[in-house]
Symmetry: C2
Subunit: 120 residues, 2 copies
């Protein structure tokens, strides 16, 4: 990942309404949520939300598809993990004592591969 792309994604997330929207999408999972439902749930006017969704989509953090009159948005998990990897890069230098907090992050992310709550 390039610096500029990382900045674009971080900028997209660095705004209260947009971070709320992104987390809403993350929680919504692969089936996503319609723009109107997001607007109602988070109490954002439709035109403002549209602008915000556009920023997220442009940064590659959200994906849209039409379903009838609605447009459904989903979070892009791939892009998010690219960004996380970029932020973590070169943090360890092979020295566990430097960034042990990040090992905890890893343990939490590992929820997908293990029974819930089992931190190794």
């Amino acid at each position: 990942m390039e610096l500029i792309l990382a900045v674009k994604r971080l900028s997209a997330l660095a705004q209260p309404a947009r971070l709320s929207v992104f987390r809403f999408l993350v929680k919504a999972g692969p089936q996503g949520a319609a723009a109107g439902d997001i607007a109602r749930a988070l109490e954002i006017t439709p035109n403002t939300l549209s602008a915000q969704l556009n920023v997220l989509a442009n940064a590659g953090l959200a994906i849209s598809r039409r379903d009838g009159r609605s447009i459904i948005y989903t979070a892009d998990y791939d892009s998010m993990s690219q960004l996380l990897v970029y932020l973590m890069e070169d943090c360890c230098q092979g020295r566990p004592e430097i960034c042990s907090p990040l090992a905890d992050v890893a343990a939490r992310a590992a929820c997908c591969d293990r029974p819930q709550g089992a931190l190794s």
Copy 2:
């Protein structure tokens, strides 16, 4: 972590110069780097850098200490991992197929606990 604090930290990282500085500090490790050295390395004027470092420090992502005439900055690994955890929260829902890319992130972060390059 609160939404507003997460936004503050994301905003601090969402700027090319500051993201460069943060990554520079991450790579510098616990001994950190003097403001002047950062300015020279990244070719940022001292007063502008000072403002940027202030934003990072205010967001809790950098810590400063004086050493003689110099002020040494270090990355705060704890704050960074808090932020990463916040971004990952509720992404898995116990369904591995949803966020398998995040499992890869976990594997990389796990470099601290394993021989380099050994992704399980």
